[in-house]
């Protein structure tokens, strides 16, 4: 029996096990939507903006480990989803995006809502396809899912012209894929793994530096075994949070620009860095020339381009984290003995000293303004038994969430790391909620970034996605304000947001629940109320506007030279102020 392109499209999604598609219709994809409408196997969640659809698919992918799928129309639909594609590309999120295209006969004619979708997405996708013939459609979709989910995962775009979705052909779905230019390496080089094991045995001051690769390759169990067997401390990148239990005694927490003191010090003074599924981002390395000056570097990554891109590597191992760790553990199991513990005792003494000297800290006064860290800490303590999924936007609140929300398991942490996309959190949380209807999904957001995809509240209400948004509302683009205070003499150029909108009323307007924490004493009660609500909730928490996120390594600074607290002149300026003062408003206005 012959099927239309649209029917083939949906049949392919079913074969790939896709349950949910995040989508927004338009002229050239109407045939596909019409076909969707006549089946019940694949759920279509209508979003209010294509960027939202893209981030929802990302959240879905990060929480499930499977490919997220979104569908947009040509032209503006495509340009709107680009941010999500770029975000997924930076953070290696398996995403398959389908875009509509004008009929093949009109391509290149500047037709209505035409854009060069393949050209636009080329630099921000792992691969992309333009389907010119309905006979190629099934094969290309199969390849798209294969490419998105294998090797280093990433976004893939399939551009489907209108006439292709309407044309008919026999449907056959290929059972396997073979692409001669694409053969990711999963098995690590055995000799190199042996070298790595030897280096680990000999190291006096080793540190594990683990990233999102561990999450994507589902290697948490292997990582835990390695760390516990060898008693090596574990630093996590922002993307790696959850790969190792945050409250484990071997966990140093997050490293990097706003990483913990012990994580960064341990990195700087180590003699062996064991990087697993991490890519030595500039937010982690700081000043490259002075990064880990005493260390040998082992780097395990499935993407050969990540190795030696930024940092010299002594023992490169190209391969899948899980496979390589298994093999490494096998060698170490036979060789590790009590000697390493004695060898590393001084190292652990040093690390415990660092931990005690500068733990993460903030001052919450009993009747004082609410500190943002307190909100995250209480939220963590109140919800940790429920194994929540946590999404964040980008900025100060994201860093506080990374510091204080100590996740125990992988695939619970949805954040935009590489691209730093404000507005990511809320739709990503919805994507995860769509995948796990019964789980608790939180979104920790800032008042600045949450407004970037606020329109999706309508999607959440209509589709009954009861995400809990906790807004740390400081009236500022907080991280920008922090940099202005530290590096631009406190001139608040375009960082002050004032006190609008009223998020409680906004939630109400959308048919969601809006709550506000008026004083620190009410925090627990309001959070509990939010957590027991079965609708989407916004909890507006007005927080102390001048709180800064520490430790902080200034951009281009060296990892052991952290700023740990407000410099004296800043402390003086902000003493006692809980609201933006008239003088501040002047700086806002004159800046």
């Amino acid at each position: 029996m012959k099927l239309t392109g649209a029917e083939i499209f949906i049949e392919c999604l079913k074969r790939e096990g896709v349950k949910t598609v995040f989508a927004l219709p338009g002229g050239v994809v109407l045939k596909i939507f019409d076909t969707f409408h006549q089946q019940k196997d694949v759920e279509v969640i209508l979003t209010r903006h294509e960027q939202g659809a893209g981030h929802m698919a990302e959240g879905y992918a990060k929480a499930t480990g499977k490919a997220g799928v979104c569908l947009v129309t040509s032209g503006p639909g495509m340009t709107n989803v680009i941010t999500a594609l770029a975000d997924a590309y930076m953070d290696s999120v398996p995403l398959v995006c389908f875009s509509g295209q004008v009929p093949t006969s009109l391509i290149g004619n500047d037709a209505f809502q035409e854009a060069d979708n393949v050209g636009l997405s080329r630099p921000c996708t792992k691969y992309n396809f333009l389907v010119k013939d309905v006979n190629d459609l099934a094969g290309m979709i199969k390849e798209a899912f294969y490419i998105a989910t294998t090797g280093r995962p990433g976004p893939v775009l399939v551009d489907i012209p209108k006439d292709v979705s309407m044309a008919k052909t026999e449907f056959t779905y290929p059972s396997s894929v073979s692409i001669r230019g694409y053969n990711p390496t999963y098995e690590g080089n055995k000799w190199q793994i042996k070298q790595a094991a030897e280096a680990i045995m000999k190291a006096k001051k080793p540190i594990l530096y683990v990233g999102g690769g561990v999450v994507f390759s589902k290697a948490s169990q292997e990582l835990l075994e390695l760390a516990e067997m060898t008693q090596i401390p574990v630093d996590m990148t922002l993307m790696g949070l959850g790969a190792f239990p945050g409250e484990h005694p071997l966990s140093m927490g997050m490293l990097g620009m706003h990483g913990t003191y012990q994580a960064n010090m341990a990195m700087h003074y180590s003699d062996l860095v064991i990087a697993i599924g991490a890519r030595f981002d500039d937010r982690v390395t700081g000043k490259v020339s002075e990064f880990c000056p005493h260390a040998k570097v082992i780097h395990v990554d499935i993407d050969p381009t990540s190795i030696r891109k930024n940092i010299h590597v002594d023992i490169p191992i190209v391969g899948d984290c899980k496979t390589v760790l298994r093999e490494l553990n096998q060698i170490l199991r036979a060789t590790v003995n009590g000697e390493q513990k004695d060898l590393r005792k001084p190292w652990w003494d040093q690390i415990r000293e660092w931990q005690q000297a500068h733990p993460l800290t903030y001052q919450q006064e009993k009747d004082g303004p609410i500190k943002p860290q307190q909100v995250v800490k209480r939220l963590f303590e109140l919800t940790k038994d429920r194994d929540p999924i946590v999404a964040t936007d980008v900025g100060q609140h994201q860093m506080w969430a990374a510091q204080y929300f100590k996740l125990a398991k992988p695939n619970r942490w949805l954040t935009s790391g590489g691209l730093g996309t404000m507005g990511f959190g809320f739709p990503a949380a919805m994507g995860a909620q769509a995948a796990f209807r019964d789980r608790l999904v939180l979104c920790i957001a800032g008042d600045g970034s949450v407004q970037m995809n606020m329109q999706e509240m309508a999607t959440a209400v209509v589709n009954k996605l009861p995400v809990k948004i906790i807004i740390l509302n400081n009236g500022f683009h907080g991280m920008v304000r922090q940099w202005q205070d530290l590096f631009y003499e406190g001139r608040y150029a375009s960082s002050y947001l004032d006190t609008t909108p009223d998020f409680v009323k906004l939630a109400d307007a959308y048919g969601a629940v809006g709550l506000r924490v008026k004083k620190v004493g009410d925090l627990d009660a309001v959070l509990k109320e939010a957590l027991s609500t079965d609708k989407p909730v916004i909890v507006d928490v007005p927080t102390y506007p001048y709180e800064n996120c520490y430790p902080m390594i200034p951009a281009g600074g060296c990892n052991h030279e952290m700023i740990l607290e407000d410099p004296p002149e800043l402390k003086k300026k902000q003493s006692g102020s809980t609201k933006v003062t008239p003088e501040d408003k002047d700086t806002v206005l004159t800046a």
């Binding site: 080329r122 792992k126 490419i147 692409i179 050969p304």
Partner: protein, 172 residues
């Protein structure tokens, strides 16, 4: 340092822009790029002349390999190779210069492929130094037009048989 990188790619639309986009997006330098189908019409061969330190060249090779439409990448500088470039040069020739132009063509073993009363069109091929040299000599006559193909290159076959022979000779 200059490197010649030979890249075998899928012969599909859009592949050239993927490769070119990789170079521009990551700030790598392209001196010249030539591309044409191979014996197997489903593949094309690109020869890219680029430059950079060891770390950059390593990244270029790895990033090219990462492209899904790229089948094989060889940094020819790691082996012995031969390279050639062709130039077509249209030269103004006044009466008194025509003999001189032909002499230069002769010296460089170039060919005249078109001739009018006032111009010669000369085809020359060789390594880039030779092309530069003939351009320098023809310049005083007045070059009207100049097109160059960019370099193509291929690795030399290992000269095993010759080496074995040489050893034998030495022993004798």
């Amino acid at each position: 340092m200059e490197h010649i990188i030979s890249v075998t790619v899928e012969n599909k639309f859009g592949v050239l822009s993927r490769v070119a986009g990789l170079f521009s997006g990551r700030g790598f330098n392209i001196e010249s790029l030539s591309v044409a189908p191979t014996l197997d019409p489903s593949m094309s061969q690109m020869t890219i002349v680029t430059s950079g330190d060891e770390r950059i060249i390593e990244q270029i090779v790895k990033q090219l390999n990462k492209l899904i439409d790229v089948i094989k990448v060889v940094d020819l500088n790691e082996t012995e190779f031969v390279s050639r470039e062709t130039a077509i040069i249209k030269v103004h020739t006044k009466d008194q210069d025509r003999a001189e132009a032909l002499r230069i063509v002769d010296i460089f073993r170039a060919n005249v492929i078109d001739s009018t009363p006032t111009t010669y069109t000369i085809e020359v091929s060789g390594d880039p130094k030779k092309i530069e040299a003939i351009i320098n000599l023809l310049q005083p006559l007045g070059i009207k037009d100049l097109v160059r193909t960019g370099r193509v290159a291929v690795a030399r076959e290992p000269v095993r048989t010759a080496a074995v022979h040489a050893k034998k000779v030495a022993r004798e």
